[in-house]
C-alpha cells in the first residue's frame, strides 16, 4: 500500500506504522515527537481530526491518546483514516496539544482533559467543558472512577 509507505517515511524511527482493519495506525513512541509527525502529516494532506479519545490502560501504567485523522480537501486521503496513538504515563499524563496544527482538536482535547485528566500542553483553554463544577480533579472516564452497576435481581 502506497499510502502506508509514505507515512512510514514520514514517521521514520519516531513511531511504528501498521495496518489495522483498513486503518493506518501510527504509534508514536514519545509524546514529544507527536507535534513533528502531525506537522508532516498535515503537509501530506491530513487536514482535520475526527475524534480525540483517551483510553485508560492504567493497569499497565499508561493512558493512550488516540487521534483519528483524515482529510476533507484531498479525496484519496478522505477514504483513509489515520490513527495516531501516543502513550502517556498514567501518573503524570502530559502530552503536547495538537491545536496549533489541527484547530479541530480544540473541543475534543478539552473533553479528553476533563474526562481523563490528560494535560495537553499548549492548549489555550484547558478547562472543564461538560461536567459540573464539583468535578474538578475527578476524572470520570478513568477506570478508577467506578459507577454503581445493578444486577439482574430485584
Amino acid at each position: 500500500m502506497e499510502l502506508k509507505e509514505r507515512i512510514e517515511t514520514i514517521v521514520g524511527s519516531t513511531g511504528e506504522v501498521r495496518i489495522d482493519r483498513g486503518n493506518i495506525v501510527v504509534e508514536v513512541k514519545e509524546p514529544k515527537k507527536i507535534i513533528e509527525i502531525a506537522k508532516k502529516l498535515k503537509a501530506e494532506g491530513f487536514d482535520h481530526v475526527k475524534s480525540v479519545s483517551g483510553v485508560d490502560y492504567s493497569d499497565q501504567g499508561y493512558f493512550e491518546i488516540v487521534y483519528h485523522v483524515s482529510s476533507y480537501s484531498t479525496p484519496e486521503l478522505a477514504k483513509a483514516i489515520l490513527v495516531l496513538k501516543v502513550k502517556v504515563p498514567s501518573d503524570n499524563p502530559r502530552s503536547p496539544s495538537l491545536i496549533e496544527i489541527w484547530p479541530s482538536v480544540e473541543m475534543m482535547e478539552r473533553e479528553t482533559y476533563e474526562m481523563y485528566g490528560i494535560i495537553f500542553e499548549g492548549h489555550p483553554e484547558l478547562k472543564r467543558l461538560f461536567l459540573p463544577e464539583e468535578f474538578e480533579g475527578v476524572y470520570p472516564l478513568r477506570k478508577s472512577f467506578k459507577i454503581k452497576e445493578e444486577g439482574i435481581m430485584a
Binding site: 445493578e150 439482574i152 435481581m153 430485584a154
Partner: protein, 155 residues
C-alpha cells in the same frame, strides 16, 4: 430586476399563505381521537406466567435495568418490570424464547404514583394496564395521504 423579483416573491409568499387558509389539519385531537396502533408497535409488555421458562434473558438484555428477576415461593425466577425505567426498546420481548413476554400496542397509560409503575411478577402477569380516556374515544388509523400528509380513517 432584483426589486421586481423581490416583489413577486413577496406576493408568492402571501399568496401561499392565503392558499393555506382552507383548513386541512394534520393534528390528531387526542384524546377525543386515539390512534389504533398497528400490530408490532412496541408498547406496554404482556407477561404470560405460564409460558415463562425462568431463563432471565429478558433481565439480562434489558438496557435500562427495568426488568428484574424476582425469586418466587417456588424458588423460580420470574421477571418484574419497572415502567419508570422502561424505554420500550422491546429487546426483552424479542429475546424471549417462548413468547412469554410480548409487546402490545398500548402506550398511553397515566399513573398517579411512581410506585404504581413497578410491576412485580404477580402484578405483571395479571395483564396489561388499560388506558383511561375522559370520554369514549374515536379510534382511528393513521395513513399517509398524498394531499394532506396524514389522514385519519375511523376504525
Amino acid at each position: 430586476m432584483g426589486l421586481l423579483t423581490n416583489l413577486v416573491d413577496h406576493l408568492k409568499a402571501i399568496g401561499t399563505g392565503l392558499k393555506y387558509l382552507i383548513p386541512r389539519r394534520l393534528t390528531l385531537m387526542y384524546p377525543e381521537y386515539v390512534e389504533k396502533l398497528p400490530e408490532g408497535y412496541r408498547g406496554y409488555l404482556r407477561y404470560d406466567n405460564e409460558k415463562c421458562i425462568h431463563c432471565s434473558l429478558c433481565a439480562r438484555i434489558c438496557p435500562a435495568n427495568a426488568i428484574k428477576m424476582y425469586r418466587g415461593g417456588d424458588k423460580k425466577l420470574r421477571p418484574g418490570i419497572n415502567y419508570t425505567r422502561c424505554i420500550f426498546c422491546g429487546f426483552c420481548a424479542d429475546i424471549c424464547p417462548t413468547g412469554a413476554l410480548e409487546y402490545t400496542t398500548i402506550q398511553d397509560i397515566a399513573y398517579e404514583k411512581l410506585e404504581d409503575q413497578v410491576y412485580p411478577p404477580e402484578k405483571f402477569a395479571k395483564g396489561v394496564p388499560q388506558p383511561v380516556y375522559p370520554e369514549k374515544p374515536i379510534f382511528i388509523i393513521a395513513k399517509v395521504d398524498e394531499e394532506r400528509g396524514l389522514k385519519y380513517d375511523r376504525v
